[in-house]
Symmetry: C2
């Protein structure tokens, strides 16, 4: 039985009074809330007396404009996780392919819906590059593929041409490829890497997006699913009304206008990603995988420091929380993941890791 | 095809600038937000940077204390609607019994999960009293029963002894009886009418509760499901993590402390229910069904005023929105529902109805 624990629970299980902790276990934009969110939420508190718009019609319209698609190509959800659980159910998938190591909820979602997960392991020896030829071989026997791109926790990015090479086969066998792009906003040149534009005309593709990671609002819950309109129309019947709360709808509509926040966040992330990667690489005994989004996977394999669980315990004493990755299928107790945060926090992480591992 | 429209969408489809409208189509506590909610939400905006507690552990503990049960008897949901859709799926129901006229989402939920609804019609000629003997006959061929108590939109209340008379048969045939008590907090002596206490030891019963109707927070989304702990544990596997947003968790925990609000709301509702019922009854041509919660079903059957759709259009000109009930299975175009609101608003409703129907 895999442990269902995710990152980002620091505030619940730790005595945070003891020490000001920096939480590197959760992958959220370090710039914090976009400027107007606080105002918009305050303004909308009195409106909580009203039901949310039942199908997020206005938010969907704004999202569609933002992505330059039609609102019929899009569903809004109570976090992207809603769709991870809903798609296998709606498609009545019997066997779903999961490329490991990856976000563990795909497996839970598949099993909760009575389907069987079929795993394709990306190998550490190959820097976790995904095994396209193995996936192609398995396509005739499956209904659904989960592809996390960029992948959590490895950071691996599959180029669009490699994904498109799969979709012909998917179409032939009636397989849907769900591309989880919830971290793609943090990636350089993401507009060239996303399959969002392709998904609206390809019934074998669905693209999942999150608004709460890039806009730093995970407490509010807001994700969306994009695809060809008939497929989206079919999936809509598996949502319940009022699934997106009123404050998430209001904040979601607001953040889409904040182009400054988006540009600043991307620039900030590109710089800090480079900084943190370069500095983690220099730590003796640490193997660091090239990041593409807002987190970095590390491997203690050459270190004498024991495993990631022990490392995490030691780092807590330095006020730092990391994501021990031993509950990711396909990783072992040597792996951990860190979020990319502000320069000051990243410096603190590097120096603490040096002390603990040195 | 039944129209999926619900009440409470006034702010979305009407030009509310034209006139200050009073929305009697939505059944929310007229006292408005409990005292501290605004403060609690404002205080928690900065915490939106963190994920919500993934399984609402602290909220569940507070709810369990409030209901005097264990947290293992309870799940928290993104509105009670989450459970209406999840229970048929989790129980793999093939045939689900729905007692009409009632909340239309039961039917949508059953069908979305590939099950067949089996309808038992409560008759107008019997004042919509539910047909217990007919239900008993059908139990051997079904898996699940939806019983809305008090029933939306009829206001009919089934006494606990009649429900308990069904559970023996439910147990014998492995049927689960889901009692939707989302309006029971508005009912007089609700503590004697709820089956919440019974449900924790009876695997054939589940009780659904809402926090957002009585505490006037429908925009936030918060419901809970109560039952025997093994059954609840089984159902928990069909929820996705972080389903309840952080502000709903925080506000939910806060309102449970506000005993003054609860007492005032009940007293207010008892008085206004009596007032509105007595005064609606006196309107010529209107049949009014005895209310038990915070809404009243009315029937134009003896009126010359045409149907409820025409009535609704006329009332809009008086600044009043009612819930036309022609899309409730088992009702026709003569029925409409009104929420019980403040005295001033109720007076306005009565006088407008008199003018329009007189």
């Amino acid at each position: 039985m895999i442990n269902r624990a995710h990152g980002g629970n620091a505030q619940f299980f730790l005595d945070t009074n003891a020490l000001k902790l920096i939480d590197f276990s959760v992958n959220i934009n370090p710039l914090g809330l976009p400027r107007k969110v606080k105002e918009i939420i305050s303004e909308n508190i009195d409106n909580l007396l009203c039901y949310p718009e039942p199908e997020s019609a206005y938010l969907k319209k704004d999202l569609a404009d933002f992505y330059n698609i039609s609102h019929r190509n899009l569903l809004a959800g109570n976090g992207s996780i809603e769709f991870i659980h809903m798609v296998p159910r709606a498609l009545k998938a019997k066997r779903a392919l999961i490329i490991t190591p990856t976000f563990s909820e795909y497996e839970f979602a598949v099993k909760a819906n009575g389907a069987r997960p079929v795993f394709v392991q990306s190998l550490e020896s190959n820097n976790f590059k995904i095994n396209i030829s193995r996936i192609k071989k398995l396509i005739p026997g499956i209904n659904l593929i989960f592809l996390c791109n960029p992948n959590n926790p490895t950071g691996m990015l599959v180029p669009p041409e490699e994904i498109l090479a799969l979709t012909g086969l998917c179409k032939r066998y009636g397989v849907v490829l769900l591309i989880d792009e919830v971290f793609i906003d943090f990636v350089e040149s993401s507009e060239k890497l996303t399959l969002l534009g392709e998904s609206i005309r390809n019934k074998s593709l669905l693209v999942l997006r999150s608004l709460t990671k890039f806009f730093a609002l995970p407490g509010l819950r807001l994700g969306c699913l994009i695809g060809q309109r008939d497929l989206i129309g079919k999936l809509a019947r598996f949502q319940y009304p009022w699934n997106v709360n009123a404050l998430a709808q209001a904040a979601g509509r607001e953040v889409l206008k904040d182009r400054d926040y988006m540009r600043n966040s991307k620039e900030f992330m590109f710089k800090e990603r480079r900084y943190l990667f370069d500095n983690l690489k220099r730590i003796r005994g640490l193997k660091v995988y090239p990041p593409s989004a807002n987190f970095i996977l590390c491997n203690l394999k050459d270190a004498d420091a024991g495993n990631a669980r022990i490392l995490a315990k030691k780092l807590i004493k330095h006020g730092i929380i990391i994501r021990n990755c031993d509950n990711f299928r396909g990783l072992n107790d040597k792996f951990f993941r860190v979020a990319i945060k502000s320069r000051k926090e990243n410096v603190r992480l590097v120096s603490s890791l040096r002390k603990v591992l040195g």
